[in-house]
Symmetry: C2
Subunit: 340 residues, 2 copies
């Protein structure tokens, strides 16, 4: 089977956007009385079905993938909007919506949750929502290394600030994908630079630290092909060596994987050349990070399966990228699949 | 001949560091009376010669390169330290030191200047120092897109704020390398993430804008292989297409080049696959960004000439990367070389 480890619900029912607009306006005005009512949200099963069947499900069928590890729209998490209570309500709503998609299409989607992070608020405050989602059957979470939305002013992900959250991740045996949200900094573009920069920043934080000595079972997935990292793999190997760290395969790659959201064949080829096959997880980031058809290939930029298909790898190596590695990194997913 | 377009004076005389420590302390204490005296700086020609001959010059000879486009230590620019007057004095001292190196070794080095940028200060205030340096024979400048030192809170490089400076660059016919300085943000590592992130950020800013319609002759060099950009070239082509911009070769590549500071062969191979050969400038970033010998090759990580030598390109294409493109992008260098 083919597991896509990085999909977002970017075709949400309209009323969700209405709610968020009103919630944001009330948060910016600090007017708790104007907060919209969660109970008044109108999102029918039919609307959800239509939004999925004409989009993500259609593309799964067309492209030949089977299961998407599915989370709320990343750019919509907006951790910088409002305070912790705003972030919590919004996260719960978005996660509940993912749970509904999964319950409607249990063979095609499995949930990964958004966390109720907020600037300056300790990550441990996200533990309750992670636990709630895991109880609903979610298999991982998206952890934001920059709740400010573009200014990179949070402590490094290797700071002890994060440790209680990591303890819970290990206890629940769930990985996180490092994923920032929409950028509110005019210097950075959400999908064109901010996402990639956050990925690159996070990997270097991990290389600098010994966090995986403290948490040998902690697992991170770096999206968007790891940002700049595979392209600069020599730089990272050299910097680690200069800092007297172990080889990256021992220092980093027991705990870190990269997804294949790189939208051209030469990029994926480079990745397969320098990153061990055990550390590559198939993903497309569909729907919507990069739309459109590549005139050089005649296929969608984000149809990343075509690139992986073309790699000069054995079929067992490709099976790892498409399925095996995801089962290892997301053991709760593996358990669910075994029960089928 | 082989021109290295990206070298920094990272082996400066000791007294320069003493001066900067004292200047920084005085700036942080807002104690103008404690500012060290520029006239008291002790940096003899012999000391400069020794610092160059045992380092940059030795490596030029060993690696078979001829001329380095040389600028002050990038991580030392420290535009976030002190105010504009501190930045100006420091820039003048550093640039004068480059001029001395060039006057001692005119065949081996040519100058590129640091600018007296400071957070919140308009780039046009750097015009006078650029003019002064060009009069001394410098052929370009390093322009910092983030004088805050790590928080990316300056306006995009395509903002009108920069336009008077760009007008002067065009008038003087000098390019800039986009180059941030040392990072004071604990979330980012200077050479491991911050440099690359600034490169990636800048390229996306350029793609979003029409700055090259306003300045068809403006030329930017993006160091460190363009950050994440070549690895994600499909993403950038797709985003430009979605925004109804022209093809990147027309929208970006008449004005933007990438250097070869990518420290492993697979990275340089990818770059040569997706970036037209006319837009690649040979560079090593020596000395010091990544030290040490790569155990996988037995050669220094930053010996980038070896990677370019190994590319499957015609000798005329390699000549472009090693020399021809630099002569085109730095016309003042070309004029100087023609006079030899």
């Amino acid at each position: 089977m083919i597991i896509d480890c990085h999909g977002h619900y970017t075709t949400e029912p309209k009323d969700l956007h209405r709610f968020r607009r009103e919630q944001t306006a009330a948060a910016n005005a600090s007017d708790k009385a104007a907060m919209p009512s969660r109970a008044a949200l109108k999102m029918s099963d039919d609307e959800i079905k239509e939004s999925i069947e004409h989009n993500q499900l259609k593309l799964q069928r067309e492209r030949g993938t089977d299961l998407t590890i599915f989370s709320p729209r990343a750019s919509g998490m907006g951790h910088h909007i409002g305070d912790e209570s705003v972030s919590l309500e919004w996260s719960q709503i978005c996660n509940d919506l993912i749970a509904r998609v999964v319950s409607l299409y249990p063979k095609n989607f499995i949930g990964v949750c958004q966390l109720p992070q907020s600037p300056g608020v300790p990550p441990k405050n996200s533990i309750a929502e992670l636990e709630r989602c895991v109880k609903m059957g979610f298999v991982g979470c998206n952890l934001n290394p920059d709740p400010s939305g573009g200014y990179f002013n949070a402590p490094p992900m290797t700071d002890k600030w994060y440790y209680p959250f990591y303890e819970k991740m290990v206890e629940l045996d769930v990985p996180c994908m490092i994923h920032v949200s929409g950028c509110c900094n005019p210097a950075q573009h959400t999908t064109g630079s901010y996402y990639l920069n956050a990925d690159t920043m996070a990997v270097m934080q991990l290389i600098l630290s010994d966090v995986f000595k403290d948490f040998p079972k902690l697992r991170f997935v770096i999206p968007h092909g790891g940002g700049a990292v595979p392209f600069h793999w020599g730089r990272y190997r050299g910097l680690a060596q200069e800092m007297k760290k172990p080889l990256l395969k021992d220092h980093l790659l027991n705990n870190v994987s990269f997804d294949t959201c790189v939208y051209h064949l030469p990029g994926i080829e480079l990745m397969a050349k320098v990153i061990p096959v055990d550390n590559i997880l198939f993903a497309s980031e569909m729907l919507g990070a990069v739309k459109g058809v590549d005139p050089e290939t005649g296929h969608n930029y984000d149809d990343t399966k075509r690139y992986v298909d073309k790699l000069s790898l054995s079929s067992s190596d490709k099976q790892k990228i498409f399925e095996g590695n995801a089962r290892r990194v997301y053991p709760r997913l593996n358990s669910l699949l075994k029960k089928r």
